[in-house]
Amino acid sequence: MFNWEAVFDVIDAGVIGIDDRYNVVCWNEWIAKGTELSAAAVLGRNLFDVFDGLGKTRLKTAVADAFQYGSSSVLTHSLNKLFPFRNETGQEVIHNVIVRPLPADPIKHCILQITDVSVSVARERVLRDRQNARYHAIVDSAPDAIITTSPDRTIQWFNAAAERTFAMSVDALREQRIDTLLTGPENLTEILAAHDMKGAASGTAVQVHGTKRDGVSAYFEVSFAGWNADGRRFITTIWRDVTERVAAENALYAAREALRKSNEELEQRVIERTNEREVVLRQLHESQKMETIGQLTGGVAHDFNNLLAVILGSLSLLRKGLPPDPRTSRLLDGAIQGAERGATLTKRLLAFARRQELKLEAVEVQKLIPEMHDFLRQTIGPAISVVLDIPSDIPPVKIDANQLELALMNLAVNSRDAMPNGGTLTISCRTETTEMKAPPGLPQSDYIRINVADTGEGMNDATLAKAMEPFFTTKGIGKGTGLGLSMVHGLTAQCGGTMTISSSVGRGTTVSLWLPAANAGDLMAALTPQAPQASLQNGRRLRILLVDDDYLVRANTALMMSDLGHTVIEASSGKSALEILQLDNRIQLVVTDYLMPGMNGLDLAKAIRGVTPKLPIILSTGYADIRSPLDMVFPRLPKPYTQDELAKILDAAVK
């Protein structure tokens, strides 16, 4: 027979049996030990009388339900304090109680099973402490301050880094509003509330400004996330010190700003340079245009001049050959005058084209200009007063004196026309060096600047830009040739200077002639008179070698010479002229055109000079391209010429 009672006594749990009047019917060894009450002492007694207060616990209800409804109940240490158990060392035994009815209808008995859970509770506590230790180690070793806030945004909890960062004691920090950590204008409470309400994703960060320990101000990047506990909303904030990063960003921003500014400046400079370049290009274009016009004009004028020479020559021969008849003479005179006016025009054109024949010498403007004064007065009329401002120590300029006079007259006339209601014409002279604000393109040298200024109506920019172009005129048809300023410009350029114009509408115009100062050599040349060439008798019949590539001109000139009684041998080139000279040693005079294909007139003259130094030579030309020192050696016959002019120069050459 199995001993059930022995089983009750050996199992490692308390077992109490009670009947439906709650009297103890069973009390095992385990429970006897734990309560220090033997079975004999309790059997038959009401369980709730054995222990004070036990009847006030839920155990009584659980037992009642077990008997009445068959309920099984669990009463755990977590919610109940039931039996006053002690273990051998006197410590309280943590226990759970299970109440179970023994199956019967109606239920007669109920078993209370008591288990010691001290060990498992202790184990859980140790585990939890370890877990907490790990958790605290992680949180407190975090370099960033971690602070959690209650729903009212007061500080509820914080880690060691928060204490370190803000140097606040535990008591000072707890229950403070989180905004007390800030010094900037940010309202973290509102920011957190707004983000939390929007359900912003975890890790959303805002940048705020606060004060660290020792009053050091710092930027923090605060990331946060909300969580719920006990039905309340908490927010964990993590504060990262980003002061250095913000400083670096600011530095980067400043550097970018500086770069942007310097880029802008660079751009500005590029624009300026581009503008300067455009100005220079425009000037270059202008000067190239003038150059081209000059060449074209010079070429046309040259050929036209040759034709005029033919016409004038033929007309003068014709007048001689025809019987005197008033009607015919009038016609002839008209023709000759027309041709002469044509010659004047070509001369002006050549001046503009810088190809006029210039007699460059040292000219003292302080003498030349006052000498013109009366003539100027007459020309410009009484309504305009003339002011001369010429220092007496102005050095002489290198120029053709006649052409300078002509140029000044031209400018004076322009000024007069610009001042129909009167005004003042001022002619002034100043010594300038290129170090001063000389116009571009002038080589480094000393210059005399002659200003011709009026108080007239002035020119607008468009007019000013075209003022120096030939045939450009603002005067009415028939009043001006449009060659005045272009001639003056050509003259200054040919002398090695330049001309500038400044003008503003309503305030007048100033034309400045920049002329090179004469050097010692020029002064000498001016002082040395030309030596006479030959000593042939006036009115002699001469044997003349005439060299010209233009058949018309040559034939006409030959006719004029023959008519003067000379013997003319014609040659069409320098080469054939030299051949003729070799064969014919009776030739007394050579007249040669300057501009010829192959050997030009000057080269021919030099070649002849090499063979027969005493043979007189006349250069016939409409050009002034002969610039070498030799050009003074040979007499000139400027085209076109009349028979009288030809006769004079022929006589002069052989005198």
């Binding site: 009445q68 409804y69 099984s72 109940s73 755990t76 977590s78 109606p106 006990d230």
Partner: protein
């Protein structure tokens, strides 16, 4: 909500059943109050009989996650099946916190959760089953409580008994600090449903006779 089940209850029956359930949970509230020394309100605002799939869907609905915690007890006798008290997992911790009191730290609550939950579930389920047993005037065999975690399918899936029906009660658990919603589910076979209907019919008749059967 109207009853969709084939074993549908009339409106009167439904009201009666809710009244019976409220008798049960108010017993449980008494036990808890005795234990905690604090006023605890338990109420069943709604009762339904549904199939297991519907029950599974109902407990999963509206909670933050599909993770649920349930205290389960089986019962046997003239009326057999399984009883479950179900809460969303997050709410269960709140429930324990409410029961064990504010003096415990969160860590303590976590330690105590399993046992405290088992006991609380045990109290509530016992009270409900006791009420039924009382109406049947017969004790039942009830098992000890077990804590189960999982989804609705885990709780209501189980092998066999596919056509078992579920008496589904919504339960409000309220103290002065908290308000927690959960469910009580009784999984029953057909004879138990029949027995339940008998109980309801008797209850209605007794009420009509003016006899308060619910009083103890």
């Amino acid at each position: 909500m109207t009853i969709e089940s084939a074993d549908g209850l009339t409106e009167v029956e439904e009201d009666a059943l809710a009244e019976i359930a409220n008798l049960g949970v108010s017993r449980a509230a008494n036990s808890l109050r005795q234990m905690l020394g604090e006023q605890v309100f338990l109420a069943v605002p709604k009762v339904q009989i549904v199939d297991r799939q519907t029950a599974s869907a109902l407990v999963g609905r509206g909670s933050h996650s599909s993770k649920l915690v349930a205290v389960q007890q089986s019962f046997d006798g003239p009326f057999a099946g399984k009883a479950l008290l179900i809460f969303p997992e997050a709410q269960s911790l709140e429930l324990v916190r409410t029961i064990v009191g504010e003096q415990h730290s969160l860590e303590d609550v976590i330690d105590l959760e399993q046992e405290a939950l088992a006991e609380t579930g045990n109290i509530i389920l016992n009270a409900c089953l006791a009420t039924i047993a009382n109406l049947l005037r017969r004790p039942m065999h009830m098992s000890l409580p077990a804590v189960i975690r999982g989804s609705g399918e885990t709780l209501f899936g189980g092998p066999g008994a596919k056509d078992n029906l579920v008496l589904f009660l919504y339960i409000d658990f309220r103290t002065k600090a908290r308000d927690i919603q959960g469910f009580i589910a009784l999984l029953m076979d057909l004879p138990s449903i029949t027995a339940l209907k008998t109980i309801v019919t008797d209850y209605i008749r007794n009420v009509e006779l003016g006899t308060d059967q619910a009083a103890r």
